[in-house]
Amino acid sequence: MVAYALRRALQALIVLVGVSVIVFTLLQLVPGDPVRVALGTRFDQGTYDALRERSGLDRPLIAQYLSYLGHAATGDLGVSFRSGEPVTTLLLERLPATASLALTALLIALLIAIPLGVLAAVRAGSIWDYAATGISQIGVSVPDFWMGILFILLFSSTFGWLPPSGYEPLFGDPLGWVKHVVMPAAAVGLVSGAILTRFVRSAVLESLGRDYTRTAHSKGLRTGVVVRRHVLRGAMVPIVTVTGLQLASLLGGIIVIEIVFAWPGLGQLTLDAVRGRDYPVVQGSVLLLAATFLVVNLLVDLLYAVLDPRIRLR
């Protein structure tokens, strides 16, 4: 178990280092002098030199990367070209908004996908199955930002139930947070949920066809017990796997949906940084989001050990 966890952690770490190389290289690929480009019309030699030195851009490439990596490891991601504030501070300011939105969206996705996927599999070939498959196909194809706009149209403009945009912190104003989070989280969550439904269905279908499911029926267990105790248990590993992988598209959806709903999270921060050519912020936020995705999938790997006794004892 410990060896398994260590091996997975090491693999994730290697990929993370690779990701940091890619993120670091991006900055080198910017045509021209990024500091100069970033300063644009605000250019003056003093600011330029100071920024360049603080960003370490006057040193050799390898040294730059190693020091970037070293600093990143201690939580120092450099300073914003725009505001001069530490990138880490900027990211941490935005993190709660994005994290609370992403987790809510994930929750909505799972609340849709698991019951619907199980129903579709258990009643394979029935009207429920066709409905779930159809909804899933639609979900894969619908742009979540369009869905968000349709929500605003319906629930803000027409019914006036929910605010069309904005944000309240979860721990500052819980009710306000709920009102604001419902639509963006539902837009992303419904789409992810529809995609996941398809995977849940096929995982459950596979588990239903297993010999142990027949054994469970042969013991005279009620169908509900067979499904909950045996079938779902067997389907859990693939379901957890795709949920972890689905997080990538969910995070992608969050970035865009933040713009639709003026949700002050990492997506907005990143996009503003891209538009303003604030490269350290772009780097930091891309690194943070990619690292989050990796860490979540590392956790998924570790969760296998909890779910599957065969891995636990290896």
């Binding site: 194809s141 149209l153 992608g252 891309v286």
Partner: protein, 284 residues
């Protein structure tokens, strides 16, 4: 039963895609109004017989713009997937055929690219290259290279052993010839299926990037950008955002359904994505 229904759907979708392609090629000519013809007094008009999809904040005909944008979307999608297809198949072939160090090195890079959420990677690439249609194609193309590389490599690995027997027999056949005549046909099925599904993703990504202002630049029409403008006028003019979104949805849905039907037809042995993914993880 299921197969029959999905085939009928797939046919309908092919017709829709053909119409989209026609709109893409002749869109500007078919459009009842000029794509950028403004009409300030007639701005924000709801859908009517003259303006089927209404008019936008500058009085431009939304229907004409949706029609004209079909071409941009399809072009970005096709070229982006073309880039992924070419690079991905090449990398997959090299990795699968030569194995060992080359395989390790190439596939590890692919793993790293795969570690980014797709939209995020595209945004990061556009941050470097700068916004624009061409760069958006490149960015989307790069994002989907790993999928094609993996699909191709899997197909190559399946035949490699047989191929070496063949190669030993046919003295003098070079690697290139073996790849072209024996390996490629074996991977064609899965790659074709992946192409159709990737077109759907690519069009969705282009719309997202244009929505964020990183793809197609105004005043050129694009579904994503029209949606962005529509968001600001959602209270006064729902049609500005509704119809471009519908166009994206229908196009992407069509590619997805055609892709699924192709999978059924060409690649029946292909394991469900879920199995492939979980076993892949277990193997790591």
């Amino acid at each position: 039963m299921r197969a029959l229904i999905s085939h009928r759907f797939a046919l309908v979708c092919l017709v829709i895609l053909a119409m989209m392609a026609l709109a893409g090629v002749f869109g500007a000519a078919l459009a009842p109004y000029g794509v950028n013809a403004t009409d300030i007094p007639g701005r924000l008009r709801p859908p009517s017989l003259e303006h089927w999809f209404g008019t936008d904040e500058l009085g431009r005909d939304v229907f004409s713009r949706v029609l004209a944008a079909a071409g941009v979307s399809l072009k970005v999608g096709l070229i982006a997937v073309g880039i992924s297809l070419f690079a991905g198949v090449l990398i997959g072939l090299l990795a699968g055929y030569y194995g060992r160090f080359i395989d390790d090195a190439l596939m590890r890079v692919m793993d790293m690219l795969f570690a980014f959420p797709a939209v995020l990677l595209a945004i990061a690439i556009l941050a470097v290259l700068g916004p624009g249609v061409t760069n958006a194609m490149i960015a989307i193309g790069v994002v989907y290279v790993p999928i094609f590389a993996r699909v191709t490599r899997a197909g190559v690995l399946a035949v490699r052993e047989e191929i070496f027997v063949l190669a030993a027999r046919s003295v003098g056949a070079g690697d290139l010839r073996i790849m072209a005549s024996h390996v490629l046909p074996n991977v064609a099925g899965p790659v074709i299926v992946q192409t159709s599904l990737s077109l759907a993703f690519a069009i969705l990504s282009e719309a997202a990037l244009s929505f964020l202002g990183l793809g197609v630049q105004p005043p050129a029409p694009s579904w994503g950008r029209m949606l962005f403008d529509g968001r600001d006028f959602v209270q006064q003019a729902w049609w500005m955002g509704f119809f471009p979104g519908l166009a994206i949805f229908v196009t992407v849905l069509s590619f997805n359904i055609v892709g699924d039907a192709l999978r059924d037809a060409l690649d029946p042995a292909q394991r469900s994505a879920i199995e492939a993914r979980s076993s892949e993880r277990a193997a790591r």
